[in-house]
Symmetry: C2
Subunit: 194 residues, 2 copies
């Protein structure tokens, strides 16, 4: 596999905005079971090795996992505040659950778990997200799970972009490019009106 | 009409993050004609007077307008970097086009146009957004349109939330609330597990 052509401007944006921890936060849109959109902030956890797929983590108990099971499509919107540029990444979503039958992806799932902070790992031991608040504070202050083996509800979420749009607000006028993966799996780049 | 209960924490977030111009940027998800999600950054232009509807501006030539005509639903995701909190606002979208038959909403459309900067107004005079790039730089350097009357392709986009979720990452543990508009148009607030 070769690096997609949008990887280079994205790497540049990540580098130039690295002083801001939230430069790794992006908004992921999916579609709900009732056909309405859903949208939430997620954290970029690097690319899956040897691929152009973005790694995100999620909890099997979260709504997005059941949304993705039904409609495996997402668009991420990633705005970099310092360089004032936006990437939109539309593509297929795959949830690597504890019983996903692919050993190399299970390895990636374990690796991302190991790279999380104790704080991030702890959230997977918290009570059911999105349910009525458990008022007992102790439910949220358990010892952090061990880094060697992920909890069963920990999932690796992969976004495989098929179309990427890059908008630079700083241009005069603004610059906008679109990258599309064609049927032969080749990326086609075009310059568009902003 | 009374202020929805989520208006107060949202006003507070806007106030505390006001030093950052991008605190008024949010990501709006819609659904494409093919059923896949779309997601892009938009700018918050205040609330429609006497309502809980968020004002956004858009171009009738943009893809989101045709998406909304078919599926009038959106979820905005608004992350405030300084206070580390997120609002998700799910609701109905209405596009106030030049021929929308409601004089008070046309008045709101004109008012928002007048409040835009010359630079923002100019974009509505640019060549078709999302089409093959017009290379002639002069196409993007026209004199700005007059503030008194909006260009015909200028639209006011209204988001009327029915469900709002507020997540504070700074809590120990995090705090998460959900506000739902019930059948009697009353907001019900609940505290949820983060």
């Amino acid at each position: 596999m070769s690096l997609a052509p949008w990887r280079s401007p994205l790497s540049r944006a990540l580098h130039l905005n690295r002083s801001q921890p939230y430069s790794r936060y992006l908004q992921l849109a999916t579609v709900r079971k009732d056909g309405r959109p859903a949208n939430r902030t997620v954290v970029f956890r690097g690319f899956l090795e040897g691929s152009n797929q973005l790694q995100i983590v999620t909890d099997s108990r979260s709504e997005k996992v059941s949304q993705i099971e039904e409609r495996p499509w997402g668009e991420a919107c990633w705005y970099f505040t310092k360089t004032r540029e936006q990437f939109r990444l539309l593509g297929n979503l795959t949830v690597i659950t504890v019983d996903y039958p692919d050993e190399s992806l299970q390895k990636a799932r374990r690796l991302v778990w190991q790279q999380l902070s104790d704080g991030a790992r702890s959230q997977f031991a918290w009570p059911d997200p999105g349910q009525k608040r458990v008022e007992k504070a102790s439910a949220f202050s358990l010892p952090p799970p061990l880094p060697n083996e992920p909890l069963a509800n920990f999932c690796l979420l992969l976004l495989a972009p098929e179309r990427v749009e890059h908008l630079e607000l700083r241009g005069e006028p603004q610059n906008r490019w679109q990258y599309d993966l064609d049927d032969s799996q080749i990326w086609i780049a075009r310059s568009l009106n902003p």
